[in-house]
Symmetry: C2
Subunit: 204 residues, 2 copies
């Protein structure tokens, strides 16, 4: 009897739909995790049709990644104070804090997990998440090498794997937790290994 004002069929502005889908995807991801994240549910939540989702996103993982970015505002900056050790310290601690203190850690871990069997997600993740971050850290280190703060024979790419890889290791294979003490010890070991012969800053 009651006639709904909006029957909901027919074309809707793409921007509007896209925004609602991303919001729904982000929300679902945050509180259901990758396990309960499904095209079906996102469609239901957002009020969009499954077909639209399949048209715009190649895989469940790719949609989840977009949802993640929409949910957590990413600033993506790398300070350059002129002191590479301090900057790396700041960044790694911030990263570890984000991964352990918020639900972002769980989500990122599940995205990486899903990307092992979802090529589209893997590509999207590399392109939009890991590669940019890696590049920021690397350029900062290259500049530091120019200033003589880092040994010239050290490959910055490898340092990235040492620092962030170690954190991801504990995040993905949680034999041991990511603690502040862990991050401090990690930074100490790594910095000691890549500093010039006579360390610029004496540690301890």
């Amino acid at each position: 009897m009651a006639v709904p004002v909006r029957r909901g069929r027919g074309r809707r502005p793409a921007e509007e739909v896209r925004a609602e889908v991303l919001a729904a995807a982000g929300a679902l991801l945050l509180d259901a995790g990758m396990a309960g994240f499904t095209f079906e549910r996102v469609a239901a939540l957002s009020g969009a049709s499954k077909m639209t989702l399949y048209k715009w996103w190649p895989s469940k993982g790719a949609l989840a990644l977009d949802g993640y970015f929409a949910a957590v505002e990413q600033t993506l900056t790398f300070p350059d104070t002129g002191d590479i050790e301090a900057d790396l310290r700041t960044q790694v601690h911030a990263f570890a804090g984000l991964m352990t203190g918020t639900s972002a850690g769980r989500v990122v871990a599940e995205l990486i997990g899903q990307s092992q069997t979802d090529p589209d997600l893997a590509a999207a993740f590399r392109e939009r998440y890991s590669a940019p971050r890696r590049a920021l850290a690397v350029t900062a280190m290259v500049r530091a090498q120019g200033r003589g703060q880092l040994r010239a024979d050290v490959d910055p790419e490898i340092v990235v794997d040492q620092l962030w890889g170690a954190c991801y290791h504990r995040l993905l294979i949680p034999d041991l937790p990511v603690t502040t003490a862990f991050v401090d010890g990690l930074l100490r070991n790594v910095l000691r290994g890549i500093a010039p012969r006579e360390p610029v800053t004496a540690d301890r």
Copy 2:
């Protein structure tokens, strides 16, 4: 009309069934990957009933892990030649070689990926895979500290994350490949950071 000799119904020796299931699981895992790995298929391949599988294994991941162990004979040794640097070098290179040279790398990556949303697999993986390996490396390093080959203030657990974590990082988030040059550079950086003040072995 033709009467099959073995109707296949009724009880079968548990050992026999278990062996066949593990063989089937391993084979399926190796050539279909975690994507095509399903209870249904393992049951069909092994000739066992789905119900039996559900009874013995709590999740698809747990079954896959057992299948993996059955498929690749794991030796799990850590040499102790008295030279910790050489031993770590050997171990990390062997690990990297296994991960890149065989299909084991793909499978392990997918197992870790799956474990992000499968608590049973995560527990089994930690208990039967990562923890034992970590322990081997750690005890070797503790012994080395006793011999004065490693700084006493270094936490061996963290070194494990630096070395293996870095490799896993490139395995799971393949921005860059795991090459011999990478492993060499990694070892150089790490060893330089954990060696006593005057390095026991001069590198370069």
